[in-house]
C-alpha cells in the first residue's frame, strides 16, 4: 500500500491549510493509501481539544481530527507542543506525540509528502 505523509505547519483557523491538510489526508486514507497526518510548528494547535466553531462559518477542524484518528495515524511533534505551551492532556484523543523519530521514518518511507 502506498504511503502518504501530510505535514501541517499552520494553525487551524485563519488560513485554509489545516482544512486542506485534513481533507487530503482523510481522502487518501479512504482511497487505499496509508496516510499519516503530522502536526508541527503552529500546526500542533490543530490538536487542541474543545474547539468550538459554532456558527462562525469555519470548518470544525478539531472534530474532523477526532473522527480521522480512528482511520489513520495522527502525530503532534513534541518540541512544537512544548514551544506552543500544549501538554498531552490538552490534546484531542487519538493524537500521538512524536519526538521526531516517526517524522524521520515517515519522510523516508512515504512515496508522497504534502506540506501545508
Amino acid at each position: 500500500m502506498d504511503k502518504l505523509l501530510v505535514i501541517l505547519r499552520k494553525p487551524p483557523y485563519g488560513v485554509p491549510n489545516a482544512a486542506e491538510a485534513v481533507r487530503h489526508a482523510g481522502g487518501a486514507s479512504g482511497a487505499d493509501y496509508e496516510s499519516i497526518l503530522y502536526l508541527i510548528d503552529s500546526g500542533v494547535y490543530t490538536a487542541k481539544k474543545n474547539q468550538d466553531a459554532g456558527d462562525t462559518g469555519f470548518a470544525g477542524i478539531g472534530e474532523d481530527l477526532e473522527l480521522l484518528s480512528d482511520e489513520m495515524e495522527i502525530y503532534a511533534n513534541k518540541d512544537s507542543l512544548r514551544e506552543c505551551g500544549l501538554k498531552e492532556n490538552d490534546l484531542i484523543e487519538g493524537v500521538k506525540i512524536d519526538d521526531g523519530e516517526v517524522l524521520k521514518r515517515a519522510l523516508k518511507d512515504s512515496q508522497t509528502v504534502m506540506i501545508f
Binding site: 485563519g14 488560513v15 485554509p16 462559518g57 469555519f58
Partner: protein, 76 residues
C-alpha cells in the same frame, strides 16, 4: 452625533482571518448604532466578488452583503 468607525481591509478573503474579524467588528458597531464604514484595498477587494462558493471558511461576499443591507458603507 453618532460615533463613527472606519475599518480598512487589505487581505484576500480565504488566506487570512481578517475578513471574518472585520465582519464581526462591523456587525457589533452597527448594532450599537454607529456609522460604520469599510475601505477595501489591494486583495481586500476580492471579498466583494460575486458568486463565491467556497466552504470551510466564512463566506465573504454573503457576509458583507448582509451587513451592507444593515447600513455598512463600503468603498473599494
Amino acid at each position: 452625533m453618532a460615533k463613527r468607525i472606519t475599518l480598512f481591509l487589505n487581505t484576500a478573503p480565504y488566506s487570512h482571518e481578517n475578513t471574518y474579524t472585520a465582519m464581526k467588528i462591523a456587525e457589533a458597531a452597527l448594532e450599537k448604532g454607529m456609522e460604520t464604514h469599510l475601505v477595501a484595498s489591494t486583495d481586500g477587494v476580492y471579498c466583494f466578488l460575486k458568486g463565491q462558493v467556497g466552504k470551510g471558511m466564512p463566506n465573504a461576499a454573503g457576509g458583507f452583503k448582509s451587513l451592507m443591507d444593515k447600513g455598512l458603507k463600503v468603498v473599494l
